[in-house]
């Protein structure tokens, strides 16, 4: 029996194999959204747990990776929603501090703040598209929307970001 069929049948060994195959990749994907190692680990485990719980409803002909990524993306989006009101993205994962001038530091802080203030569904698209360079199709698949909607959200996110940045004295 194929691995995915065994997983769908509830085989724990098959689940472990899939877990080991995808944990690193899924963790990196979640990191791109939450940018916090501890949270990314927690959400990765939670996503796999939900996948395991839903194993009976999974069609082995479908793309497991895309399905898992969508579960994790929804969890990450929920996390961003819960973290509101507007906790700035910390520089935690970018521990290497560049020797910036005060002005540059202010600009970076304004950018992080403006991004953090976006509504989560726009923020996730801005982070994945603008910072991580993910294509619309990939974002759309992970978010369960069409590429057109992802593109529309990107334009709205950029417009809002520019507005917020101007208010904060930054002119991109």
């Amino acid at each position: 029996m194929e691995l995915l069929e065994r997983f769908a049948a509830g085989d724990l060994d098959a689940f472990e194999s899939l877990f080991r195959l995808y944990q690193s990749e899924l963790y990196r994907w979640v990191m791109r959204i939450v940018r916090d190692a501890a949270v990314a680990e927690e959400l990765t485990v939670e996503a796999f747990w939900r996948a395991h719980k839903a194993h009976a409803g999974f069609d082995p002909q479908n793309n497991f990776r895309a399905w898992l990524r969508r579960i994790a993306t929804n969890l990450a989006l929920d996390h961003l929603r819960k973290r509101r009101p507007y906790v700035e993205l910390a520089e935690d994962v970018a521990a290497e501090q560049k020797p910036d001038s005060a002005v540059q530091q202010q600009t970076r802080a304004a950018l992080r703040r403006a991004l953090a203030e976006l509504p989560p569904r726009l923020r996730i698209v801005a982070q994945l598209g603008l910072i991580e360079g993910q294509p619309y199709a990939e974002m759309a698949l992970a978010l369960g929307i069409s590429a057109g909607v992802a593109r529309t959200r990107m334009f709205r996110a950029v417009r809002l970001l520019r507005k917020k940045l101007q208010r904060l004295g930054v002119h991109p």
Binding site: E16, F19, L21, Q23, E41, V45, G129, I131, E138
Partner: protein, 94 residues
């Protein structure tokens, strides 16, 4: 292993060059403030095997929804029925 485990289905097409130009300066500034995860190297790698944590999670019961969340849901539902004009505002903030 079946096709479901391959990259199939994930379109690799990128944003158009025009959009890259349009967002170029903003993109650069954002990437400077928050470097892409792929550029962080080992810092962004998974620090440990998560399987032991997964096993612990599998042993835990499902998280129960607190009564407050149900109450909030009921209030939101009632509010949208009584005041439909609130729906666009609620959707915007989701």
């Amino acid at each position: 292993m079946s096709d479901g485990l391959k990259d199939g289905g994930l379109d690799k097409s990128t944003t158009s060059p025009l959009e890259k130009d349009k967002f170029g300066r903003l993109r650069e500034m954002l990437q400077e403030a928050l470097p892409p995860i792929d550029e962080l190297g080992s810092e962004a790698e998974l620090r440990c095997d998560l399987w032991p944590a997964m096993l612990r999670r599998l042993e835990q019961p499902a998280v129960r929804v607190p009564w407050f969340d149900w109450a909030l849901l009921a209030v939101s539902g009632a509010a949208t029925i009584l005041f439909p004009a609130l729906i666009p505002a609620l959707l915007y903030h989701l």
